[in-house]
């Protein structure tokens, strides 16, 4: 199959993009309707991966993308999302209820004043996305259509009934839990009180309020795990996901949470949420001393999944033309490497009637 061929109307498609550091999911939920969850750029073109792909397969982004979702505001999930939203003129913007709290509004307003570099926090992309929504609302469009739509565990994002030609479809949020939400705004508040007065940068880890999404189109089921971590109690993290009542059963495709990290592993993901031996798809987080997924992570996933597909290989070392610079850099730094490798794309298509998924790998993507 070539890249340019769009899915059939009755196929669920999950396309996962990753350039080394970054993640984007593009999903076809039947009948030519699409949603985009998170965003990353193609390092070569600097264009959002979602937009490049959708236009390549002939999707009319302005009318056919129904939802643009930000699962959490880390920059590896938000790069270019404001451009995706701008192009998706009919889409509703969806994000975690965590963003609705006063503490978060203050954080986002402060981040704008701090002029942080776009490579640090995803808050600037969120700011721009909110500007785009404001413009749409000022142009007279309704909040229910443009968003922001705030969702948490057991919120229904989209529901479509079956008709003669199409199976029914449901897109639901499986996190964050009430407990995670309460703790998160308490944490942000405390950090603001501690650091804001000094104009220090307030760094908040949003993983615990990340949005996990369950998609069901007929009998085809995918779970998109975002960066949600295991959680410290059964009331948050993946423990809480397992207690949701709206979750689709027998997941076949699992976008593995937090780049395959051990800290996002929960046995219940594999025993309760997913069907036996599902397909696991992963984006790496090729950064820091211990890039994700580690070799141990890949080994663990291979024992649990029928097949593990990763969007891009570990990053390359960088070299400099100036020998003196290279020598000095290698003396001073413990690790020096390229921030982005090539964009990889794992595409999974599965009929809404019971069948097994068809996997295709493009660009840098590979089967582990």
């Amino acid at each position: 199959m070539t890249l340019d061929v769009p899915p059939r109307a009755d196929e669920l498609e999950i396309s996962l993009f990753g350039p080394g550091v970054g993640e984007c999911v593009v999903a076809h939920i039947g009948g030519g309707e699409w949603l985009v969850v998170d965003s990353c750029l193609n390092p070569e073109s600097r264009e959002p991966a979602a937009l490049e792909y959708l236009s390549r397969i002939g999707v009319r982004v302005e009318s056919d993308v129904r939802y643009v979702v930000v699962s959490h505001w880390h920059d590896d999930h938000t790069r270019g999302v404001s451009r995706v939203l701008e192009a998706s003129k009919s889409a509703t913007f969806v994000c975690s209820t965590a963003l609705r709290k006063n503490e978060f509004k203050t954080l986002i307003a402060m981040s704008r004043e701090l002029n942080l570099k776009d490579s640090t926090t995803g808050l600037d992309e969120l700011n721009q996305s909110l500007r785009c929504i404001e413009e749409r609302r000022e142009a007279g469009r309704r909040k229910v259509d443009v968003g922001p739509k705030f969702v948490h565990a057991d919120s229904v994002i989209y529901r479509r009934d079956a008709n003669e030609t199409l199976a029914d479809c449901e897109v639901v949020a499986l996190s964050p839990s009430d407990s995670a939400l309460t703790r998160s705004h308490h944490d942000i508040g405390a950090l603001l009180r501690e650091k804001a007065a000094k104009r220090a940068i307030v760094n908040v880890t949003p993983n615990e309020t990340a949005l996990v999404i369950g998609l069901r189109f007929g009998q085809a089921v995918a779970i998109l795990g975002s960066d949600l971590e295991a959680g410290s109690s059964p009331n948050d993290g993946w423990g809480a996901v397992l207690t949701t009542t709206t979750r689709p059963k027998q997941g076949q495709i699992f976008k593995v949470p937090h780049h395959g990290s051990e800290n996002a592993h929960h046995d219940g993901q594999w025993t309760t949420l997913m069907a036996p031996s599902p397909l696991a798809i992963v984006t790496p987080y090729a950064s820091g001393k211990n890039p994700l997924p580690s070799k141990a992570d890949v080994t663990r996933l291979k024992q649990l999944a029928r097949r593990v597909c990763v969007t891009s290989p570990p990053p390359r070392k960088v070299s400099f033309n100036d020998r003196m610079v290279e020598r000095t850099l290698n003396e001073v730094a413990k690790v020096v490497r390229s921030r982005s490798s090539r964009l990889g794309h794992v595409r999974v298509r599965i009929s809404s009637r019971k069948s097994s998924p068809n996997v295709e790998l493009f660009g840098a993507a590979f089967a582990a």
């Binding site: 609705r100 701090l114 570099k117 000094k198 940068i201």
Partner: protein
């Protein structure tokens, strides 16, 4: 009045400002339930009173009668993006005191990056991860380095946290005696303290977001 420079706002890293913010009496006003910005407002007021700074007026002074100035470190000279930023934001008025040159040597810059700290590992290995944008060869893609905390100058250690911006220069230094050596220098950007105007803008944006998010 030591300085007659007309400025409409001032940010200062002067000891008075720092003391004021760290003053336990002021910190005690931060309560668990209170709006962070409201308490920030009060802290700022207290800090400014203590430092003898009048915000929004054309005259400034300090308790000691010396001008209060914000000395930004030397990396400003070579950072195009920061220069662009300061041009785009006239509100960031800064009083500079001429500093006698402390450079009896020549520095031949061979490579410079603007870096952003993405991760700090203080407990385990005492190292930081930095994403580097090449200022010397802007067409190069970003790279990333893991650096030991030892490479950070003691003055800058408090600034090391995710989101912090730094400038990393590599070059040859030639001393007055003609000695030539390779040098790697990492300096962190210092952010000026919040001003009344900043706070007002933050409050205004929070109000807009209230409106946008609705109930």
């Amino acid at each position: 009045m030591a300085s007659a420079v007309a400025i409409s706002s001032i940010q200062t890293n002067s000891p008075a400002r720092t003391r004021a913010v760290c003053n336990p009496a002021l910190r005690a006003s931060w309560s668990e339930t209170e709006d962070p910005i409201a308490s920030l407002d009060r802290t700022l007021d207290g800090a400014c009173e203590e430092a003898g700074v009048l915000i929004g007026r054309t005259e400034i002074g300090s308790a000691e009668g010396r001008p209060i100035a914000l000395a930004l470190s030397s990396e400003l000279e070579t950072s195009p993006s920061l220069v662009a930023q300061s041009v785009a934001e006239p509100r960031k008025s800064v009083v500079r005191i001429p500093v006698p040159s402390e450079q009896p040597y020549r520095f031949e810059l061979r490579q410079q990056w603007e870096g952003v700290v993405t991760h700090v590992d203080k407990d385990d290995n005492d190292e930081l991860t930095v994403v580097l944008r090449d200022l010397t060869h802007p067409e190069q893609p970003d790279s990333e380095a893991v650096v030991s905390m030892d490479e950070v100058s003691p003055d800058d250690l408090v600034l090391v946290q995710p989101g912090a911006v730094l400038y990393w220069s590599i070059g040859y230094e030639t001393t007055t005696t003609g000695e030539r050596k390779r040098v790697s220098r990492i300096r962190f950007r210092r952010l000026p303290a919040w001003t009344r105007r900043d706070i007002n803008r933050i409050n205004a944006r929070v109000a807009e977001l209230d409106e946008l998010f609705g109930e």
